[in-house]
Symmetry: C2
Subunit: 346 residues, 2 copies
Amino acid sequence: MGTEKVTIKDIAAEAKVSVSLVSFVMNNIANGRNIYRVNKDTAQRILEVAKRLNYSPNNAARSLRSGKSYSIGVIVSDISNKFFADIARCIEDRAYKYNYTVFFGSTDENPEKLSHLIEVFVNKGMDGLIIVPCDGAYEAIRRVEKSGVPVVLLDRDVPEQDMTGVLLNNRKAGMQVTSALLDNGCKKVEMVSYSMRLSNIRDREDGFMEAMRNAGHNVDDSMIHKIPYGEMDKMASVISGAYSRGVNGLLFATNTLVQTGLREICSKGLRVPEDFRIAAFDTNDAFELDMMDIIYIQQPASQFGTEVVDLMMKAIDDKVKKDNEGLQTRIILNPRLVEKHPRHPR
Amino acid sequence: MGTEKVTIKDIAAEAKVSVSLVSFVMNNIANGRNIYRVNKDTAQRILEVAKRLNYSPNNAARSLRSGKSYSIGVIVSDISNKFFADIARCIEDRAYKYNYTVFFGSTDENPEKLSHLIEVFVNKGMDGLIIVPCDGAYEAIRRVEKSGVPVVLLDRDVPEQDMTGVLLNNRKAGMQVTSALLDNGCKKVEMVSYSMRLSNIRDREDGFMEAMRNAGHNVDDSMIHKIPYGEMDKMASVISGAYSRGVNGLLFATNTLVQTGLREICSKGLRVPEDFRIAAFDTNDAFELDMMDIIYIQQPASQFGTEVVDLMMKAIDDKVKKDNEGLQTRIILNPRLVEKHPRHPR
DNA sequence: TGAAATTGTTAAAACGTTTTAGTAACTTTG
DNA sequence: CAAAGTTACTAAAACGTTTTAACAATTTCA
């Protein structure tokens, strides 16, 4: 019972041609090219038979022969984080258009996990890797790229080396969101960030500093509170410290930070926006709740997805053509500022 | 430069044996069996060489020859929904233990999309499909199962046919959460649900009705407000209707519904839990915010993941053994009630 | 002691594609 | 009208595994 798989051979028999010809037609005519000068009518006949028999190529055989897997690996820090989940879906949709499939993996900001995932994905024969770098994994990323596997960075940069990637203009975003806090009447603004050395976070911090300076504030490092990743319990003292210093505007560097920060603020019985006005980067299910009074930077998830896949396809293409050796492209996307002030703040 | 892929042939040459022997060893000895009576020492030597050369099997070749792809497809309604995202990660982790890889797809509750995904996944040669059924796609699911592809249901049942699957005891969950609302002093409780015919939602509704009856309330259908999927604008009138009728407890059937419901409640300037006490199923980033006063049913994501993958592995095994024809297993998980009442409600 | 069973190993076919190197059959050139 | 070129097609090798059938060499059995 069931799917007696129809192969290229069945089509060849049915259409009374050789398997080679069928292969040519499937690969080239179907895509608009005709570098193998096949007769128009024969090609048509083959395509018709293929459709009638409901042919679908055997991926394993195709991979084996061509050495390509028609799949890419995507390594993010946490696929269940809303920001990455949204991008993941866009990547998937875009890759589907190129007939590529996508595998996902999460590092939890752990460089060993990242190295492990790179190894697993390379061993599976992925044609390329889209990577969200984490602190301490830069060497591993450089190594796999040097070994000839196309790599495209996402969301964050790798220091001291130009690599192809798609990033947000985080500096600009940091300035925008800080200015918005100040414009909303905050006299004393501080920032809560991670201590990890990640390009996106550093750029957000720089943007914050610059906007503060531009607004005539004296700025120094003590205005940015850095929490080590995984030590969220430090948030309590950060919040109470800020409150005691009379801070009335808080900028959080990521959606995970703002989540914990808000929880802390609530559990202390403090109010938003009366005691603290809140601003953050990325989005979060909670922001959708209209009760939230918040300013945040929305990242263009679907642009991230399409651009990063397009870059990857180009990189894979260039590789088989041995073309473009050592050329890097980087795409910088623009942030979008969202201000939410519910009608009934109460 | 780089990964000159080492094959079984290289190992054979290095260890001075035939490729067949290497294959036997890799497939059987490595897994503890020795059905091919290979010499212990030879086997050891081969394994050592393999490790030294950092061998990793070519998946395409292995698939091609064996007819198995060592991959499974997972079709959920929306992979960016927190509930499914959490389960997805657990499925992935569990499948990895069996050396299987996982592909994901989202239906958005659209039966055509589901049929399409089934076709795509089957054509890709998946060894089995884990499916969250959506309304109207039951025929397609039965068909693919009949055609011989192992199918395991997740989260929801398919009516009028026993199929293998992992489900929550939604009836019990509905009773628990309704009782909790009543215990918290709600005198008049109603439910907001979807109009889709989904087993999990129907069971939750049944549980609600039963708990209400048990508590001595008169119940009828008008106490359950059914919103068509994708017509969330209907929420506004549901909320204001409930408010005008003096309802003070609301049970939402899913995390998407409660999200919209809360937004609506806030934007009307109503308060939680003073005006409405809120209860729901599934979780959500927003629930993590401690400001939320809410009662909800937590589903055991990691159990869902492990059980569903284990069932799948068994189904694939049974299939190659032509064993177990027509036998169905279903696993019913237990809900966990969470009550969150923040210390500083406002 | 000779036949039968067991152990350890290998050769070779097969899986479904892609791609190289060819070959007829025509058509164009000089 | 022969040489060169073009068009339309094919045979066959290759990709890296798994698995069947076979074969020595050794051990067990009667």
